[in-house]
Subunit: 216 residues, 2 copies
């Protein structure tokens, strides 16, 4: 007693992880890069995608998967720009899971694509916890949300391979202290690249597109 | 076979509902009104509470329970205004559950209070699904989030007994179409009172405080 060799078994790979692994294998086989864009409702994720679509050299080169609780509004906005897009409706769930993403990916013409951008459900908490087989999670935060979100919702900012600070055109009208916000970001993720952009003026968009296209 | 009287049992009252019921009983006994404020990260919930604190006739009359994933930033902001406040940290969870709220409520001096305002975790999805024994859910949406959030996250707006549209001081700087947003709100909840406020200028705050103090 006390010195027995106790074996411990844990469910290391739940169902979501298995589907995420299938996605990773599919993307590797097809040589497609996939990123997972996560941020609050209304932080400017879809507007950012619209600007990427306008900036990206070859629109037929990338596709978008739009995650939402309800409505096809966001997919319609990308479709209007001739970007291949599918809408993933979660029917109440607060995040995308890998199984749904795998199904949508399998319906795309992956042979002709280089990049798939997934826009997750607007939420700073749960989407950060779910692996959907992406190469990179990208955190989106708008300057209207206040400085302290990186420390209040640290998981996303810790896991992110890039942070996009949006709506910088509104800075003159806000009490937002950018340096304080950047310090908070550095506190949870000291090395993450941070892109300051405005989808209204277009400022900073090309740098972010350059970063995305350099992935892989 | 085929005509048997099959009994179906369901867990009609999960553990959260039981705690929510205990909260309702406690609040009824103590004659305290409790509201549950729900909105995206950075939509202005805490700033709204600060303005309520400055406007409310007797600060010792109400208390605040601050829900967050991490940090005590929000509780510190209310404490600085001499409002009785406790911080509820969910350690990663995306919403408050009734058990934690019950524990925090039990520690308050309920005999001397008339109103408890709970600020839920910043999230438009999950907090709307969890009954914490409140009299009313209040949806907070900022004009920076875009017009279509009520139809993209309909559960909250359907359940809300009031909607607060915040940051109206920024309207001159935004492409936000207020009439479109109000139409979307009416689509999911045709009768809910809607308060348009700015915590920067103070516009609309007193009407909302009048509404809260008239509850019960």
């Amino acid at each position: 007693m006390g010195n027995r060799d106790i074996k411990v078994y844990k469910d290391l790979m739940g169902e979501n992880s298995l589907w995420a692994e299938k996605i990773r294998n599919l993307l590797t086989e097809k040589k497609v890069m996939m990123v997972n864009i996560i941020g609050s409702p209304g932080c400017g994720k879809t507007s950012l995608l619209e600007k990427i679509a306008s900036t990206y050299a070859d629109k037929k080169d990338f596709a978008v998967l739009e995650g939402d609780v309800e409505t096809t509004h966001d997919a319609e906005r990308l479709d209007a720009l001739d970007v291949p897009v599918s809408q993933l409706l979660t029917s109440g769930a607060c995040h995308l899971e890998a199984k749904m993403v795998y199904q949508a990916l399998s319906d795309l013409s992956l042979d002709t694509l280089n990049l798939v951008i997934v826009e997750n459900v607007g939420n700073l908490v749960c989407p950060a916890e779910f692996d959907i087989g992406e190469y990179a999670k990208i955190a989106v935060l708008s300057v209207t949300e206040g400085e302290d979100k990186p420390v209040k919702y640290p998981l996303l900012f810790r896991e992110a391979k890039a942070v996009v600070l949006t709506k910088t055109d509104l800075l003159p009208h806000l009490p937002f202290k950018k340096d304080v916000c950047l310090d908070y970001m550095r506190k949870v993720n000291s090395t993450v690249p941070i892109f300051e952009v405005s989808s209204v003026t277009g400022a900073g968009i090309s740098s972010f597109v350059d970063w995305i296209t350099s992935l892989g």
